[in-house]
C-alpha cells in the first residue's frame, strides 16, 4: 500500500513478508525488526502510555525505552525493536496497560 513514512530504507530489500497493523495489511522487508518495519510505514503512533495516554512510537531501537510496545499475535507489551518480523504477524497498537484479567475468564 502507498505510504508516506518518516523513514526510508537505504536499500531495496530482496524479500518481503506481510504483516497487519491494527488490521491494515503492510508489506515489510524480511529480516528487519518489527519496530523498523513500522517506522518505514506511515502508521502514526504505535502505543498509548498507560500513565498518561501520551502517544509513542519506537525510539531507542535497542530495548531500553519501552516506547515501542505493541501487541503481537495477542501478546501484550511486546518490545517491537527486539522482535523480527514474521510473515502473517498480527500487530496491534498497545493501548494502555496490559490486562491480566485476574478474576476474569482467562489470561490472554
Amino acid at each position: 500500500m502507498p505510504t508516506d513514512a518518516l523513514f526510508r530504507s537505504l536499500q531495496l530489500a530482496p524479500n518481503h513478508v506481510r504483516i497487519t497493523f491494527d488490521g491494515m495489511p503492510l508489506s515489510v522487508p524480511a529480516g528487519v525488526s518489527l519496530a523498523a518495519a513500522l517506522l518505514a510505514h506511515d502508521v502514526g503512533h504505535t502505543r498509548e502510555s498507560p500513565v498518561n495516554g501520551r502517544p509513542g512510537a519506537p525510539y531507542c531501537m535497542m530495548g531500553v525505552c519501552f516506547e515501542c510496545l505493541v501487541e503481537v499475535d495477542g501478546q501484550a507489551n511486546a518490545q517491537a525493536c527486539l522482535i523480527q518480523v514474521e510473515d502473517g504477524m498480527s500487530v496491534r497498537r498497545q493501548r494502555g496497560a496490559r490486562d491480566l484479567l485476574i478474576g476474569g475468564a482467562d489470561d490472554e
Binding site: P50, N77, D99, I102, G103
Partner: protein, 374 residues
C-alpha cells in the same frame, strides 16, 4: 565558607524529611549529599508504609511507626500543596501473605502481643484462604492465610524523594550535591564540616547519611552500629490495576508496574542483583499470584537497607557534642512523616519527644542481636 542554622549530612529520604521539617520551622538548612556513587537506599526501596508486626517486644517502635502513618496524610498534603506532586499515597491497609502455617502462626503471635501492648487498640484480622480470595481475587492456592491490618499503606517512593527535593528547594533549603565529608570540627558556637576545599558552618549538625553514619559518627567519637542488608526488587511490565492493597511481597504501583521483593541478604557493601535471590523472589510472587507467571520482568535492582545492631532506628542527641544528632533507620518511607513533623521539631529544640529516648545509642552497650521487621 557556607553558613546555616543546621547542616544535614545525607540527601536521602531521612535527611530530606528532616531538612523539610526544619525548613517548615523557619530554620536555614543546608543538606550535603554525597553523590551518585553513594549507596542510595532512598532510590531502591519498595514504598510500603508498613505497621503490622513492627515493634514486636518493642512498643516504643510500634508507637512511633503508628504515629508516623497517622501523620502521613498531613505530611502528604503539605508536600502536595508545596510542589503539586501527587505521591499516590494510599492507606487501605495491607496484607502479610503467609506461605506456611508456621509463618502464619509466627505473624499471629506478634500481632497478639502488639494488641495486648496497646490495650486492645491494635486492629488486625486473620484471614483464611477463602476470606483472602474474596478480598484479593488473584491470590494463589499456595497462600495458606494472611494477616491484615487497616494501618498499612503505600506510596510512590521516588515521587516522595522528588517532592522532598522540590519542597525543600522552594522553602530555601540549600542542597549541595557531590559532597564527601572529610572531617568535622567542634567549636564553641557549633560545627565546622570540611569537604575537600569547601567548609560548612552550622550551629546544629544532623548525621542522616545511612550507612555513612558509621564513619561520620566516628569523626565525633561515636560508635554508630549500622550495617548493610541487601534487598532485591523485580519490576514487571505495566498491568491494569489488579491489586488494590500493598502486601509485603508484591505491590502494584500507581503507574501499573508490579514490584516483587522482600529478600534479605547480608553481603556487605554489594548492591548488585543475583540470579538466586531474583528467582526466589519471582517464585514466591508467582505462588502469591499465579498469573504473574505470565508477566514480563522489565527491571531489577539491589539496594542496601541500613540496619542498626538491633534493627530499630537510632535517634541520638550526641552527649559529648551538644547540637549534633544522629538519625538512622531502615524505614525511611514509613517514618518520613514523623521525621519531618515530630523529629525535626525535637532537633530544633521546639518540642520534647520523650518517646525517642528508647532509640538512643546507649542501648547498644553489650547487645548484638538483629531483629528485622519490614
Amino acid at each position: 565558607m557556607h553558613k546555616a542554622d543546621v547542616v544535614v549530612v545525607g540527601g536521602g529520604l531521612v535527611g530530606m524529611s528532616i531538612a523539610y521539617g526544619l525548613a517548615l520551622l523557619g530554620r536555614q538548612v543546608t543538606v550535603l549529599d554525597e553523590g551518585d556513587d553513594a549507596f542510595r537506599a532512598a532510590r531502591g526501596n519498595f514504598g510500603l508504609l508498613w505497621v503490622q508486626g513492627k515493634g514486636y517486644k518493642n512498643s516504643p517502635y510500634a508507637s512511633w511507626t503508628r504515629q508516623s502513618v497517622a501523620l502521613w496524610p498531613e505530611f502528604n498534603a503539605l508536600l502536595q500543596s508545596d510542589t503539586g506532586i501527587d505521591l499516590h499515597l494510599r492507606q487501605p491497609g495491607g496484607f502479610q501473605l503467609c506461605m506456611s502455617e508456621q509463618e502464619l502462626a509466627e505473624e499471629t503471635r506478634r500481632l497478639v502481643w502488639l494488641q495486648e501492648a496497646f490495650d486492645g487498640d491494635y486492629p488486625y484480622e486473620l484471614l483464611d484462604p477463602a476470606q483472602l480470595k474474596s478480598r484479593i481475587p488473584g491470590i494463589g492456592p499456595g497462600v495458606v492465610g494472611a494477616c491484615y491490618t487497616p494501618m498499612d499503606g503505600h506510596v510512590n517512593p521516588l515521587k516522595l524523594l522528588r517532592a522532598l527535593y522540590a519542597a525543600c528547594t522552594l522553602r530555601g533549603v540549600a542542597i549541595v550535591n557531590g559532597v564527601t565529608v572529610d572531617g568535622i570540627d567542634q567549636h564553641a558556637s557549633g560545627f565546622g564540616i570540611r569537604a575537600a576545599a569547601d567548609r560548612f558552618e552550622a550551629e546544629h549538625l544532623v548525621l542522616a547519611a545511612g550507612l555513612g553514619n558509621r564513619p561520620l559518627g566516628a569523626m565525633l567519637g561515636m560508635d554508630v552500629p549500622v550495617r548493610p542488608n541487601r534487598g532485591q526488587i523485580l519490576v514487571t511490565e505495566r498491568l491494569q490495576p489488579f491489586l488494590h492493597y500493598p502486601t509485603t511481597y508484591v505491590r502494584q504501583t500507581d503507574e501499573g508496574t508490579v514490584q516483587l521483593g522482600d529478600s534479605l541478604e547480608s553481603v556487605g557493601f554489594d548492591d548488585r542483583t543475583s540470579s538466586e535471590a531474583m528467582s526466589e523472589i519471582a517464585a514466591r510472587a508467582v505462588q502469591c499470584f499465579p498469573q504473574l507467571g505470565q508477566v514480563r520482568m522489565v527491571r531489577a535492582w539491589g539496594a542496601l537497607r541500613v540496619l542498626s545492631a538491633d534493627g530499630y532506628p537510632i535517634y541520638e542527641a550526641a552527649h559529648d557534642s551538644p547540637g549534633a544528632f544522629v538519625v538512622t533507620c531502615h524505614s525511611g518511607v514509613t517514618l518520613a512523616a514523623a521525621h519531618a513533623l515530630r523529629l525535626a521539631p525535637w532537633i530544633a529544640g521546639e518540642a520534647d519527644a520523650p518517646g525517642l529516648r528508647a532509640f538512643n545509642l546507649a542501648r547498644f552497650k553489650g547487645q548484638s542481636e538483629v531483629r528485622y521487621a519490614h
